[in-house]
């Protein structure tokens, strides 16, 4: 892991945030099974519906969000929690949304794939690729408003084969939009390995189809992600246009909870766990002289925040059934 130029404070923030994300996702693994045992039933329990967790993919989220402000826009795909947390989405209301509670970000209407927090300009959606043009539009708005905000779209490596990817990148390049596309290459789109879906090894080469830089981050390295993102965000803020970053990352869990994962060898995940980026960054911080009790304090703090969010969600009320008919249209007058 190279270390050039990542300020210690940022490293600590990344570490803390990755721990927070991991604890969030691991808690969700548990919560999601509530009411689904002994027989797994996707529609039952505390949290029903599909659940796409991102344990292992923390570096993609923290490495770039470290450079963003609440005024920068982020769109995320169906696997959104790590990105939402790194972007600073309201954790209590996000969790309540996932629980389907009225105190949730979307009053329970959106759910885990549809988290909207306009306070920090975060959104996500369940349609692969769809967030990329929308982020381009947010970047266009930044440009039109002549502010120096940027927009970041996250997408999986599978999404890089969707038409939306191509159309949005061409637009962004053409209009020199402050857009950064982060491709989280976790090797799979559900069960389909990258080499079965993608004609090129690295999507970074696809930058040349739009005459924009394509960066490649190896080995799920949060510090390298930080450095590359710094350049990418800086370019975008300065009006130098879009770029794409592909990061090699790892999905420690199934595509969704309940995935039998028959498409990968059992020991693949064991191998990935040995390379856990959180452990690696922790070791790296210790190597730099950070005291382990400092890290422990951080861990305790974020664990508490996560646990509190789950408590908040649990203690909240379900929406009234009739609320289903509201919010189709906003009051018309602007």
């Amino acid at each position: 892991m190279s270390e050039h130029s990542v300020p210690l404070e940022r490293q600590k923030w990344m570490y803390e945030t990755m721990v927070k994300i991991r604890h969030y996702e691991e808690t969700m693994v548990q919560v999601y099974t509530e009411g689904k045992t002994p027989v797994f039933n996707i529609g039952a329990g505390t949290v029903p519906g599909e659940m796409h967790l991102a344990s292992g993919q923390e570096p993609a989220a923290v490495g770039i969000c470290a450079h963003l402000t609440p005024e920068d826009t982020v769109t995320a795909p169906h696997r959104p929690h790590h990105i939402a947390i790194a972007k600073g989405v309201h954790l209590d209301r996000m969790t309540a949304e996932i629980f389907g509670k009225v105190s949730g970000l979307g009053k329970g209407k959106g759910g885990h794939m549809h988290l909207f927090d306009p306070g920090v300009k975060f959104s996500c959606s369940g349609i692969v690729g769809a967030g990329i043009p929308q982020a381009a539009g947010a970047a266009l708005a930044c440009k039109m408003k002549k502010q120096n905000q940027v927009a970041v779209a996250f997408a999986g490596e599978g999404a890089a084969n969707s038409g939306a990817f191509h159309e949005a990148l061409n637009l962004a390049a053409l209009w020199k939009l402050p857009l950064i596309l982060v491709i989280e290459d976790n090797r799979y789109g559900i069960s389909v390995p990258k080499e079965v879906s993608t004609a090129v090894k690295s999507n970074a080469v696809r930058g040349s189809a739009y005459d924009i830089p394509g960066y490649h981050v190896e080995e799920n390295d949060p510090l390298e992600m930080y450095r590359v993102s710094e350049e990418a965000v800086d370019r975008a803020r300065k009006g130098k246009g879009p770029c794409l970053i592909e990061i090699e990352t790892y999905r420690l869990l199934g595509h969704f909870q309940g995935d039998p994962e028959l498409y990968r060898e059992k020991d693949e995940v064991a191998g990935l766990k040995e390379k856990d980026p959180i452990m690696r960054l922790r070791q790296h911080l210790l190597n730099q002289g950070v005291q382990s009790n400092v890290l422990d304090t951080m861990e305790t703090r974020v664990r508490q925040a996560v646990d509190q969010a789950y408590d908040f969600a649990r203690d909240s009320e379900y929406p009234d059934a009739e609320a289903a008919l509201e919010d189709v249209f906003a009051p018309s007058i602007q």
């Binding site: 826009t73 769109t75 949730g104 970000l105 979307g106 009053k107 329970g108 209407k109 959106g110 549809h114 909207f116 927090d117 306009p118 300009k121 959104s123 959606s125 349609i127 769809a130 990329i132 043009p133 929308q134 982020a135 381009a136 539009g137 947010a138 970047a139 266009l140 708005a141 930044c142 039109m144 927009a151 038409g163 939306a164 191509h166 159309e167 949005a168 061409n170 637009l171 053409l174 209009w175 509201e326 919010d327 189709v328 249209f329 906003a330 009051p331 018309s332 007058i333 602007q334």
Partner: protein, 340 residues
Amino acid sequence: MVTTKDRVLTGNKALSEAIAQEMERDSRVFLLGEDVGKYGGIFGSAEKLLDRFGAERVMDTPISETGFIGAAIGAATEGMRPIAELMFVDFFGVCMDQIYNHMAKIHYMSGGAVKVPMVLMTAVGGGYNDAAQHSQTLYATFAHLPGMKVVAPSTPYDIKGMMISAIQDDNPVVFMFHKSLQGLGWMTPIDASQGVVPEDPYTVPLGKAKVVREGRDLTIVGIQMMTHHALEAADRLAKDGIEAEVIDLRSLVPLDRETIIRSVKKTHRLLVVDEDYRSCGMTSEIAATVAEEALYDLESPVRRLAVPDVPIPYSRPLENRVIPGVESIEKAVQTMMKEV
């Protein structure tokens, strides 16, 4: 009555004037789409806007409908008020995901926290032999899916007023203009494509149908071109002593069921005329509404005229066969009046 002081505009000029006035008023409004710049929109929706507002607010786009409609959504959620033009409604299939899963649903999915104030403007309609992929109206394709307002005005006056309302609306509005009603120099000139349009900005509410001809014997509901055909048929029928009430639907979503039901309760007969496909179309919805809410007021079965579930054929006699016209309306009414 048109006085010499009244300004007569074509549909396209009414439309581009509405956009210009809103762009003038509100710097957040901008336009993007294929050939909206120098060309001024293939159907004249953006006439002279580039000269007036410059390429930053009147943006030619690549042929990337998912890309630029998606971008309009992203810009709208960031507080801009984009108008995106989908050149022909027939092309919806390359970008429908952005339209129906995002533009239309974000407000709801966010529990009302995010607004998507944008207009998706698109040209509809056949009648000039442009064949299966350039002649559709697809009204019901949009009206079936929740979360977007869908309007289809039929006069220059309503075009201007409803476009201004659409831009000012905080919701996504699909604004369908009918090619034949744009009054373009290269299409069959028809009276209906011209009309009196006040210069000052004004709004016409979205969601209200309009009784455009009073009558006692039956109700004809029309949409855009079909309203004009219905009016002409009504004039002919009047010579036979049949007085048709004609309703211009204007808005598909929200649907003004009250106006329709009120009329049917008066006339006791209903014919719905639609340039879209028949099955699961606006004719179905309106007929169903009446069967639910005014069944006992009907004195004869509901009748529907629409494209008979075939793609729009190219050749003139074939296209004429499938798109309802004055004649087929007249005939349908005559048959209905004999039914009890």
